[in-house]
């Protein structure tokens, strides 16, 4: 029963997404000739997905909005270099991943931490959770963000791409530039580390 619940859950979440590659290819071809309408179609199609990746990587709504805009602009500028060896969306994800990792690196150099969005998050950080305390969905979100932030950015990227974006291992391998075996191993390891971090906090979920 539980297994069934998970299968359903993943389907009910954002993904797996059905990507129509032929359709993309047609619009990419037009975009290469600077057809803005064609590119607008691609932006509309993938904006939420790219934003989701950026949001979960950067853990800030405003920063991820700016980042996803920059990702699309980069894609537009570089679209002539896209040879069609991979699908358009894996190419787009790769740009997003690289952009986010660069931003995180820059942020680290400036020794600024990525701030959590609202004050609530900060409160949660400071407040010790009591055993078996009931927390609502919003608080869980903050807790996950807090723990995700502690993870290595590349670790975060694997989980985001496979679990949240519904990419296959092959696609994730292409986006991250790792062998498929490495993707599998690292996904398991990263989820384990995250699980340990999450389970350390003692709470009970409000259903």
């Amino acid at each position: 029963m539980e297994l069934f619940r998970y299968k359903n859950c993943l389907r009910d979440c954002e993904h797996p997404v059905v990507h129509n590659e032929d359709e993309d290819y047609k619009f990419v071809k037009k975009s290469k000739k600077y057809d803005e309408k064609a590119f607008e179609f691609l932006v509309k199609k993938y904006q939420q997905k790219i934003f989701n990746v950026c949001y979960r990587m950067l853990l800030s709504e405003q920063k991820s909005k700016d980042a996803s805009q920059e990702v699309f602009i980069k894609a537009y500028i570089k679209i002539k270099k896209f040879k069609g060896k991979s699908t358009f969306y894996t190419w787009l994800y790769r740009i997003a991943k690289n952009h986010c990792l660069n931003l995180i690196k820059k942020n680290k150099k400036r020794k600024e931490d990525i701030p959590l969005d609202t004050d609530q998050g900060k409160k949660l950080q400071n407040k010790e959770l009591k055993p078996d305390e009931l927390i609502d969905r919003k608080q869980v979100r903050k807790l996950i963000e807090e723990k995700m932030k502690e993870l290595d950015p590349k670790c975060r990227a694997v989980i985001i791409l496979i679990h949240y974006q519904g990419c296959t291992h092959e696609e994730a391998a292409e986006i991250l530039g790792w062998p498929i075996g490495t993707v599998k191993v690292r996904l398991y390891r990263c989820l384990k580390i995250l699980g340990i971090k999450l389970n350390k906090a003692k709470y009970r979920l409000k259903v």
Partner: protein, 219 residues
């Protein structure tokens, strides 16, 4: 499959990504293995928590924002391209005229400079030698005799014969004598025949005296 492999496949097992045969193999292993089963439970728990993390929805203005930036970029590119060909402060005709004149000068120099270079050294020397505007002219009946006695006269005044050449009208002689002895020499010349000496212009650039011995015309 070993436990390590099973663990690496746990996520795929939970999310139903495995092929049926592999999935069954994992399921059978999990029923027996005390090490892997708790791992499955832990992972399920982690994933159940992670499912609570949804990201905000983008508003409708996002596309417009992106597209307006892209159109800006495109416009900038186009204007840079246009600027190159648009008549700006300086009219295109003027720029073209300057270019043509400049090219003209280049071509003109290209055509004429090599010719100057081609003039040989000998010719140059000859040109310099014959520069004398009014050479001394002696008209005699016998050119050759006059030439021999001319040689003697030059020698007696300690001069040097530099060159002698047959010309259409007679023989051209170039010689050098010290300035103090020029007058004496000229007086001796008068004995040779009819002489025409002008006040200036009988010397070339190097200070040598130029002289032409001619035959007296019959008439």
């Amino acid at each position: 499959m070993k436990c390590k492999e099973i663990k690496n496949n746990l996520y795929d097992f939970i999310s139903n990504r495995l092929e049926e045969a592999t999935s069954k193999e994992v399921e059978e292993h999990l029923e027996q293995c005390n090490e892997c089963k708790p791992e499955l439970e832990k992972l399920k728990k982690t994933l159940s928590i992670l499912d609570h993390w949804d990201s905000p929805k983008l508003n409708e203005y996002f596309t417009n924002k992106v597209m307006s930036q892209i159109i800006d970029i495109r416009r900038k590119r186009v204007t840079i391209f246009k600027k190159l060909f648009r008549p700006s402060l300086i009219p295109l005709e003027a720029v073209a005229l300057v270019c043509i004149v400049f090219l003209g000068v280049l071509i003109f120099r290209g055509i004429f400079t090599p010719k100057v270079k081609e003039v040989s050294r000998e010719l140059k020397i000859q040109l310099e030698i014959t520069e004398a505007k009014n050479p001394i002219i002696i008209e005699t009946e016998n050119i050759e005799l006059t030439f021999i006695s001319m040689n003697k006269i030059i020698r007696t005044h300690n001069g040097d014969l530099i060159s002698s050449k047959k010309v259409e009208s007679g023989i051209k002689i170039i010689f050098y004598v010290k300035e103090e002895k020029e007058r004496e020499l000229f007086q001796d010349l008068k004995q040779l025949g009819r002489t025409q000496i002008k006040k200036k212009g009988y010397k070339d650039r190097n200070g040598n005296i130029v002289m032409i011995i001619k035959e007296i015309p019959d008439n």
